[in-house]
């Protein structure tokens, strides 16, 4: 987003405001520039840049988690949570189905799906003091169609109380193999 004063009298000051939305910026270093076009004789086209470094308090990988049916009949996936917090705790994990599939979604199908989870802390922090926690997630899923949605992970991190990542539950086409 950009805002600016359109006219500035001789000898006076005005402002050009640049706003960079962080959801449009990848993690790490960024540089976003503005081109200011005016009737100035010296610089009719002036470049103004904002640079910075975006740090994610709790990063989730893989970028698009997929839950698949495991041998115990539950749907499972393994996530890695990377953070500089040495005492990270996960409070709750659920999956919110989104409107990924075509057609109308019955209201029941948009209810959040509660997930069981187990967080394992690594023995030591990695490079840059980042702890790579393993988060094993599992849930009961009875439907035939796969679902796209958002995994919501609630943590005790003061800057990342709710970590979200888009993913899906890959419905198993195989029939129930219970004895």
């Amino acid at each position: 987003m950009v805002g600016f004063d359109t006219t500035i009298l001789p000898g006076r000051e005005g402002t050009v405001t640049e706003e960079v939305a962080l959801d449009r910026v990848h993690d790490g270093a960024f540089t976003k520039c503005l081109t200011v076009n005016s009737n100035a004789k010296n610089k009719p086209s002036l470049q103004l840049c904002m640079k910075g470094f975006v740090k994610v308090p709790v990063a989730v990988s893989p970028g698009y988690p997929q839950m698949r049916r495991g041998s115990n009949g539950l749907y499972e996936t393994d996530l890695t949570l990377s953070t500089d917090k040495p005492d990270l705790k996960v409070l709750e994990v659920f999956f919110t189905p989104g409107s990924g599939s075509s057609g109308q979604t019955p209201w029941q199908n948009t209810l959040p799906l509660h997930c069981e989870f187990k967080l394992t802390r690594p023995d030591s922090a990695g490079a840059g003091g980042i702890w790579a926690y393993r988060l094993a997630v599992s849930t009961r899923f009875e439907e035939k169609d796969s679902k796209t949605g958002e995994f919501v992970i609630k943590t005790n991190h003061p800057d990342a109380g709710e970590v979200k990542t888009t993913g899906n539950i890959e419905a198993s086409a195989s029939t129930d193999q219970k004895k």
Binding site: P10, S38, K41
Partner: protein
Amino acid sequence: MKKTVSTLLLLGSMFLVPAATKTGPLISADADEFDAGTIKKGTVSSAKHMFKIKNTGDSVLVIREARPG
């Protein structure tokens, strides 16, 4: 007579000199680059900065657009 002509020339040049040094609008920014530092995602949704622009010229500066890129 000669003195009158040179006086007139002098007077004329006094009017001409400011016109010759007229600069038009001139733009000057306090800084071309702003370092926002490290931003924690999740705590803020955007990074914002106000650049100060000064018109150091002698006529009105008109900013037509400020676009990303």
